[in-house]
């Protein structure tokens, strides 16, 4: 069965001080119908840009220099500046952003904002769109939706605003929901509610999900598959449970070791040595090698790409087996 969403070799260029660099450097992934993929990485790795490039919403200064986005077998006409929003297939995707307050228009009621897509994209009448908006408010768990229709974004709490954003995203009846750190700015108890809502939407509407986050702890609750991103590339992909239990790339295991564990206070968070490289001055060979304790001479010269390392798993590391052996030797960390 063809995957619902296929992204092939996406390359996005950005400019800094007038110099161009590849903020997203050859990213590929496929999303099955009803499936979910989490893209994880630290700030500046290109995960948000990837999502925006797929959606056709690159910021000014960004340029999609190559790559294909295929939805249900139909390639989207992604113009270099990413303005292909008119295409019918683009409407099968919707995006949810991190900061609802700046993503929502402050001068329109939330109801009107939700009703906009049904009215102008789906072509429903005014009364029908209103009804649809109220339904959506109810669907995303906002109590008293008829009254809330008339609220302005600043009158609502953070969690409610995020639900409104999800409602807007659903209003065009997409098959794919792209989420750019939707819960990062929310309190943790609200975050669980939003994640539960997303899970319910997936179950009941068969939505497919691409979820970008920097928080590894959230990933396991959200998506069955995960891709770890570093300096614009995926360095490891695979089923979430397996990748988190036994990572096959040193960056992934570095991220896991750096996070404190709420259940085990004795686990000492260990920082990854070195720091993120300047995108204008990337290391030669494997981009992670200056920070990697498994690095060998080969790593300095080989431009490592994703290789299969197991069923459904890939890693862009020449020594993923050494890493696996080291983990096995230590036992359960």
């Amino acid at each position: 069965m063809t995957p619902l969403l296929e992204v092939e070799d996406l390359v996005v260029e950005m400019r800094r001080h007038g110099v161009a660099f590849r903020a997203v450097d050859g990213v590929s992934f496929a999303l099955e119908r009803g499936g979910a993929l989490a893209i994880v990485g630290e700030s500046g790795c290109g995960k948000s840009l990837t999502l925006r490039a797929v959606m056709g919403l690159l910021p000014s200064g960004g340029r999609l220099s190559s790559g294909r986005v295929v939805v249900d077998g139909v390639a989207l006409p992604v113009e270099a500046r990413g303005r292909g929003r008119g295409h019918r297939q683009h409407r099968r995707m919707s995006i949810v952003f991190q900061d609802a307050l700046s993503a929502l228009s402050p001068v329109a009621t939330v109801g009107n904002q939700i009703a906009e897509a049904p009215r102008h994209v789906l072509g429903l009448g005014r009364a029908e769109s209103r009804e649809r908006a109220i339904e959506l408010l109810r669907l995303v768990g906002i109590p008293d939706p008829e009254r809330r229709y008339h609220a302005y974004p600043h009158e609502l709490s953070g969690g409610t605003r995020q639900r409104v954003m999800i409602a807007i995203a659903l209003s065009s009846e997409p098959a794919i929901l792209l989420c750019d750190e939707p819960t990062t700015a929310l309190d943790v108890t609200i975050q669980t509610q939003i994640l539960a809502l997303l899970a319910e939407l997936r179950r009941e509407r068969g939505l497919s999900l691409v979820f970008v986050t920097h928080d590894l702890g959230v990933v396991s609750q959200v998506a069955e598959n995960v891709a770890v991103m570093y300096t614009g590339r995926f360095v490891e992909t695979g089923p979430t449970a397996e990748v988190l239990a036994a990572p096959r790339h040193p960056y992934t295991s570095g991220l896991l070791a750096a996070a404190p564990d709420v259940d085990r206070p004795e686990h000492e968070p260990v920082a990854i040595p070195g720091s993120l490289p300047d995108p204008l001055a990337l290391p030669a060979g494997c981009r992670f090698h200056p920070r990697c304790r498994f690095a060998t001479a080969e790593c300095l010269t080989t431009d490592v790409r994703l290789q299969p390392v197991g069923p459904g798993r890939q890693s862009a590391c020449l020594h993923s087996d050494v890493l696996a052996a080291a983990q096995a030797a230590v036992g359960h960390d």
Binding site: E42, S43, S157, G158, G159, T160, D187, V188, T189, I190, Q191, T192, Q193, L195, A196, A199, H214, D215, L216, G217, V218, S220, Q221, A241, L244, A245, G254, L255, L256, A258, A259, P260, D261, V262, D263, P265, H267, E268, P269, V270, A271, I272, S275
Partner: protein, 322 residues
Amino acid sequence: MTEALIEVEGLSVTFRSEHGHALRAVDDVTLEIAEGEVVGLVGESGCGKTTLASCIAGRLAPSTGVVRFDGRELEVSRTVEDRRAIQMVFQDPYSSLNPRMTVRHVLSELLKVHRLVPRSGIEARCRELMALVGLPTSALDGLPSQFSGGQRQRIAIARALTVEPRVIIADEPVSALDVSVQATILKLFEDLRSRLGLTVVFISHNLAVVRHLSDRVAVMYLGRIVEQGDREAVFGDPRHPYTRALLAAAPRLHQVELVRAVVKGEPPSPIDIPTGCPFHPRCPRSEEICTRQRPALAQAGACPRHLAACHFRDETASRAEP
């Protein structure tokens, strides 16, 4: 029995909104912090932890209640020595440094104004401070725009340390940082605490971080402390449903299934705090008494230092979650 370094007693802060509504940001908080301790202050947005910290640091005057330092009651407008003794480190590394001042200028000005070292020793002291926070000497010449988030936090910590404080209040110091950088700053806090014997009030909404670093923990909700005690008592045997909810909701790497949203709804507006226990509308355990009677913060469990503000504080959690 060592006397507490900082005592907060009956502290309340009430703001008046423009419509005359009273907003209780902090409600009758009593807390003790011993010298050399790390106290974690946990809560979600709007719980009052930052307002409480501002009162302790002297940035804000409480509406009622007192803050005592070394046994002395602190006046609303503090002496310079008292201000030096309690320093704050803020959350946003991008607004916590003056964009137009070099690091050297920031540190040396403080050294000069407080006459902490003779003029000839200023440069050396600046270098020491840089070394203390793990930055190279060349950082002294830099402007904030040249530094990353983690480096800026180190500079902010160096600035706080310059005036030789006894207490550092860190308000979400790592929340804006990537996880690997966060690990380095946490390690820095640990180092400083063991090397300098600093007392730290560590504010965070991230339970994993708080559990890692703190000796004692206080959990806040809508301006009140709902549970406090030694770290292992609170984390290991939480006696307030809100604490349990926070623990359940904390992101975990090896979550087998989706976390049940234990707590429903959102925190109410602080202008309109529910009667009885303020948590009751959202509480999975609430009963009729909770709507009428506000529970006192009283001993829960074996240790006299473990307190919880819940009518059912004597019940332990049934920890069915993995």
